[in-house]
């Protein structure tokens, strides 16, 4: 982790607080108009998608309906639900946009989300062992966690998590890995499971029973279309979220580093543990402005569309304190995520040799060893393992 002195941390906190206060003082009609515009767009796309779906036996209509409903779900989950639940619009005093009462269009209940995401993830961002969002307990993304043979297959977990993302998020609070290790018991999770079943049941009923039943003769088409829409949302949402913290240069932290941390240290961790991606404006909107994950983690409760305006201010702060502002295009960031998942599926020594860019020193040693081809490095490794065994 990049180190700053206590004095620097204090100045960092002051600088960021000043930016925060500037925007909080400026909240007003513009922000209200923005979120209402998004909500109108969401409703239009959802109604449009649901209306087109029964005509889905004509392929272009199925495609249009699926896309329309998929984008609606993306907007609702990311630009509306996620941001409203962060309290970004609480100041509007609008009961429909209140962080305490908003319930979103996904399996995960709003209450469970606020506990695991708003509290755990945003407070203990990227702290190994405390932030369960870092790898979602199914991905090994750093070498603090000891390697085990099962990690060899984690690319399959990665694909499953992407496809069934809303179920993964919904089940997140079950803490399956802790249940298995006996750290928590099933009875402690009874209340969670009840809420999960109720909300999950609702979501399944809506997309796979209610709307198909309304259009009974074409029910299979509607079911297929709704599966498609949910899949579109799952793949997009998971990609955006993975790009927020799992990219090549995003840092992770140990619990010791964060004991009794100051607000400045918390800010530092948010800035170095998060990563942005760039793209056209519609990509920002569809990502719920998690394209600006750094800004989001520094100011989780400022209306997210402002992150675009805040970005230059944060970059200036990064420059002032010599911090790395992690930002690249979406495909590039996603590629580094896949690379990281692949890299840490390998045993440490193999990874260190094959993918030295994930080493602590960022792969400096590699330049001295550039003669070694992949094959020769593998051969060396096999020989040394064999000789060690002998």
């Amino acid at each position: 982790m990049q180190k700053l002195s206590d004095e620097q941390l204090e100045n960092l906190a002051q600088d960021l607080d000043a930016i925060r206060n500037e925007h909080m003082a400026d909240l007003g009609q513009r922000d209200a108009d923005h979120i209402r515009g998004i909500i109108r767009l969401h409703r239009t796309l959802e109604f449009g998608g649901r209306a087109l779906m029964p005509l889905g036996f004509i392929p272009p209509f199925l495609l249009a309906g699926m896309t329309s409903l998929g984008i609606a779900k993306i907007l609702e989950n990311m630009e509306i639900g996620h941001n409203v639940m962060h309290g970004q619009y609480d100041w509007m005093n609008d009961p429909e946009l209140n962080s305490q009462t908003y319930e979103w269009d996904t399996i995960c209940t709003a209450d469970s989300w606020k506990r695991t995401h708003n509290y755990e993830h945003h407070t203990f961002t990227n702290v190994i062992g405390k932030d369960r969002d870092y790898g979602y307990a199914v991905l090994r993304l750093e070498d603090e966690t000891p390697w085990q043979p099962k990690h060899l297959l984690q690319m399959i977990n990665f694909i499953n998590l992407s496809v069934f993302f809303q179920w993964g998020v919904g089940m997140h609070e079950l803490e399956f890995e802790k249940l298995r290790s006996g750290e928590v018991t099933l009875s402690e999770k009874a209340a969670f499971l009840r809420d999960f079943a109720r909300k999950g049941g609702r979501q399944v009923f809506k997309d796979y029973v209610f709307f198909p039943a309304l259009t009974l003769p074409v029910a299979p088409v509607v079911i297929a279309g709704n599966v498609g829409a949910n899949l579109i949302r799952n793949l997009w949402a998971s990609s955006v979220i993975f790009c927020g913290h799992f990219t090549e240069e995003a840092e992770s932290f140990t619990e010791q580093e964060c004991e009794n941390e100051s607000r400045g240290h918390w800010y530092l961790r948010q800035m170095t543990g998060s990563s942005n991606f760039t793209g056209p404006g519609w990509v920002y909107t569809l990502s719920g402005h998690l394209s600006h994950q750094v800004e989001h983690h520094v100011f989780p409760d400022i209306p997210a569309y402002r992150y675009r305006e805040i970005s230059p201010q944060i970059q200036a702060v990064c420059e002032k304190y010599g911090l790395h502002y992690n930002s690249a295009s979406l495909p590039r960031q996603y590629a580094t995520v896949v690379k990281r998942v692949a890299a840490f599926s390998l045993p440490d020594r193999m990874r260190e040799r094959l993918l030295p860019e994930f080493n602590e020193d960022g792969g400096q040693r590699r330049s001295q060893d550039n003669s070694a081809s992949l094959v020769s490095r593998l051969r060396n490794r096999v020989t040394s393992t064999l000789s060690a065994a002998a």
């Binding site: 003082a25 513009r30 209200a32 239009t44 005093n93 962080s99 708003n118």
Partner: protein, 381 residues
């Protein structure tokens, strides 16, 4: 600004609704994740026609008339589903200013017959000089605009024949009295009525024209307007001398409405004169603080759901106050990040320790873990 504090909300009676209502709600939960599915359509419906909005009751501003230099009467035509009101009741105006929703209570200043006969009602708004909402309300709206209102609420003061009555009103506290007197005129009641109306100067009389008309149609109305500060050297505030002229005082039904000082004084005077408590009813109107209190923090904190009241010395955040009082509010980071502890504040001012900013004094959501009360605060906890 006027705020009837004694107002009790009219229950919406939803528990007694039919099966259809429950089904509708159940379906709303399943399909739209909200209790009132109608609200899901609001964002589109209100762009087509503002009268289709479901989250508040829309009312069209028919006319705006100046009463005095700092007050105006708005004639409103609410959507038919509004449901009407009783004399002496209040409603909230629900308005959006700079992206924030504000709800402010005002008394209806006309008789229910207006609503029944031509579908309009009037509210009279007096400007609080340093207030946030009332000056804006009086400037912002034009005839033809649509404004949100709540259902009517508050005690039913429909006048009954028989008992002699005494009204003591101060300033804009005259508005519910106008409603009651008009209702009496509608019913051709002949009860002896005395109205003691205290204003600063004669230019501050609200509803002067209406009062003159009422004096003609209510033969037993004894109208006494007291301009208390007409002569600044020799002010004429409410005192025993004003009550002495009221015949059969102890037999009268008394109704008080005005600023807190006047109300308290009137209560004491009536009690001294031997009027039994059950004959006195009052609507407390207090002036909302437009100036942010910047003195030392601390005050009485009332947790309304658990009905616990504590005295805050201002040295702890509200979350800690609640925990010290034995409550278990939901919380998370305890440093203002996660909004897990966000809680609805019904009234009172809190200071946000992050920004140093003071909140408004009305209902809104606050973060308990970084808020310190300044003066009395009521939390829905």
């Amino acid at each position: 600004m006027q705020e009837p504090v004694s107002a009790e909300r009219k229950s919406d009676g939803s528990h007694s609704r039919l099966f259809g209502r429950d089904t509708w709600r159940w379906l709303g939960q399943q399909i739209f994740n909200r209790q009132n599915p109608a609200m899901y359509f609001d964002p589109l419906l209100e762009t087509i026609n503002p009268f289709w909005a479901q989250r508040y009751i829309p009312a069209r501003v028919e006319a705006i008339e100046s009463e005095t230099h700092d007050s105006k009467t708005l004639t409103l035509r609410p959507a038919r589903r509004w449901g009407g009101f009783r004399a002496g009741q209040h409603l909230n105006l629900e308005v959006e200013k700079d992206g924030r929703w504000h709800s402010r209570p005002f008394s209806l200043s006309c008789a229910p017959s207006h609503w029944e006969q031509d579908g309009t009602v009037t509210v009279t708004i007096k400007k609080v000089a340093d207030g946030e909402i009332t000056p804006w309300l009086l400037e912002h709206f034009r005839a033809g605009d649509v404004i949100g209102i709540s259902r009517a609420y508050g005690e039913d003061h429909t006048p009954e024949p028989g008992d002699p009555m005494l009204f003591i009103a101060g300033g804009s506290g005259i508005t519910p009295v106008l409603s009651q007197l008009e209702a009496m005129a509608d019913r051709h009641l002949r009860n002896p009525v005395t109205l003691l109306y205290f204003v600063r100067t004669e230019a501050d009389v609200i509803g002067g024209h209406k009062l003159q008309t009422l004096a003609d149609s209510l033969p037993n109305l004894d109208l006494r307007i007291v301009a208390a500060e007409k002569d600044p050297q020799n002010p004429d505030h409410l005192g025993p001398q004003h009550l002495q002229g009221v015949n059969g005082l102890t037999e009268r039904q008394c109704f008080l409405c005005g600023p807190p000082g006047l109300m308290e004084h009137a209560q004491n005077l009536l009690a001294d004169a031997g009027v039994p408590d059950e004959r006195i009813s009052s609507t407390l109107f207090s002036v909302g603080p437009g100036v942010v209190v910047t003195e030392d923090a601390g005050g009485r904190v009332h947790f309304s759901r658990s009905n616990i009241t504590v005295e805050s010395a201002g040295d702890r955040r509200l979350l800690e106050e609640a925990e010290a009082a034995g409550l278990n509010p939901r919380y998370g980071c305890r440093m203002g990040i996660c909004h897990q502890c966000a809680c609805r504040k019904a009234s009172g001012i809190v200071i946000n320790q992050h920004t140093g900013q003071a909140s408004g004094h009305g209902g809104e959501t606050v973060q308990l873990c970084i808020s310190v009360p300044v003066g009395p605060v009521e939390l829905e906890l």
